[in-house]
Amino acid sequence: MVEYKGLDGLPEEIDPYFGIAKLDEQLKGIPSKKIVLISASPSVGNEVFGYQIISKNVNSNVKTVVFLNRTSPQSYLTEMKEYDLPSNNNLVIIDAYSGITGIKSDETDHVRVIDNPYDKEEVKSKIVSELKKGYGLLVIDSLSLLIDFFDFDYVNSLVAAIKKSIEENDSAAVFLFTDWGYEKESLQKLSSNSNSTIEIKGIEKRVIFGQYFAVLNCDWLESKQGFSAVLFKAMKPGGIKVYFPKILVTGPTDAGKSSFIHSASKNAVSVDKLGGTIALDHGNVDFEGYRADLFGTPGQERFDPLLKMLGGEAIGVFLVVDSTKPEQFPRAIEMLRKTETYGLPVVVVANKSDLEGALGKEEIREKLHLDSNITLIQTFAQDLSKVDPNEPTKLKEAGIHEALSALFKQLT
């Protein structure tokens, strides 16, 4: 059984699973005997979804077989490594590519070779006979290439044979498919033979400025509510990360906004002078399969004209306050209003909670007039003896993670 940990950090036993934030939360993994169709636009692609699903499962001891007709096994494993999604001995590859190029690969314990990838019967029988050996998961990469090589009728018969085989052998299957503009009717039939369809698309005009996935249907969940499009980035290395393009970090002067951003991010930058941020902070957060861009505002009132601009298009807010300075709390609320983010999901970060005179959680809630549904997290310096007033202070990981987790849960 795979132990999947979501934003709660609580293990859930789902087997096999996507290994992709949000998908596992929405669909609770891929139950056995089920088929998932991942359909992508040709300008976005779905290959990284395949790498991630395979890597996460084989590394959780789920025996996985991938039918590969898109590239060579060696090339596939190189790509997986480049995305930092390594494989292991739990993976078996059915090589239906080398026969196309004429450069035959050798059959090994982990590579089965299809001698003639143009032979419909050999393709079908190799997949079905391999599944009898007992796999948790089958990945087809790619189903659209099979359609291009043969036709929809053959592929539908292959899907039916796979469905029967995974039902007999308690496996699950993921089909990677690129929608090159095939006939709607054929696509509908293909989709109806799957238990869930996930769509991957780009937000594009002249350029691609975002990409998203969305669960179009899923027959193993009782509730059909709550599926929404999710922005993501395919990071090399890193794989698929659910992406929040703009989260604002605001709060009064010297509350610790820069410290929060620098502690939460791998590569934060500040435009500052003598310790006080005078323009903005920016950092990329990478946490539990999620990726977010944090934008910090300057705290000084003279920069208030900037706030509205910085708050534009934010989707969530961290409001950072100094736990020792309740006199700044009205300013904190005013900043939420000025950034025009009042009403967005917010997590209050009570920083400097380890300093003498710091107020407790309940006192802060009361003085900030916080509703009970707003989360307040305390943060602490990693080492008080190393605090330099001219540099962002490194904060303890536990508080940072708690804050990120609380906001991300509200955003998904």
Binding site: A40, S43, E47, S75, T101, I103, W180, G181, V207, I208
Partner: protein
Amino acid sequence: MENLKTGLKSFDELSGGLDYRKTYALFGNKESGKEQFIYKLVQSALSNRNAVVYVLTSKSYSELINEFNARTIPINQYLGQDFKILDDFSRTNSPSMTDNSYAKILNGPVDLTGLSVALSNTNSDFLKDAKTVINIFDNLSNLLIYNNPLTVYRFLQFICGKSKLAGVTTVFSVDTAMHSPDVIETIKNLSDAIISLKLENGKRYFTLSGTSREVLDFKEID
């Protein structure tokens, strides 16, 4: 916007150069001068501050760079800047080869999705920098050998449509002798304009159709 000069004197004088934002098919038999035509075009495009995305299907990126250098075309200064290579060939022989700052190594000729994604991303990066982009396919014939022609047509239709929408100029070369007449006809139909090259009695000639200044009789290339 002035037309895109190819750097070939007689071609530019007679045709005025290539229209931006169009899709060109470059036909010719072996030794008809397709590579020379493309290399000169790349040189001219880069020296005029355009960005070039070069898709390779029949040689490695290092062989391509060597060929530019052998022709004393200064390419190194543009590598990773305005000149990026999508190498769809090297992994056939060297499966472990990985990307560098100027060449993205793709999975091979069958993975048209991978090529389409890489092309979209590379074009997007250049377009976000307000660059005028030229896509070169050297060559389409290799894709046609490994794939069902219908698959390649659908791929062409998709990427040419996207390129036009983005204002990108596309040139793809085709080795005429390698394909049946119906394949050549379909590719012509998928293109806006056609450049044909031929070698005769030791001299190279061209025609151009589908542009504002057509050259319909074979003229010598200087």
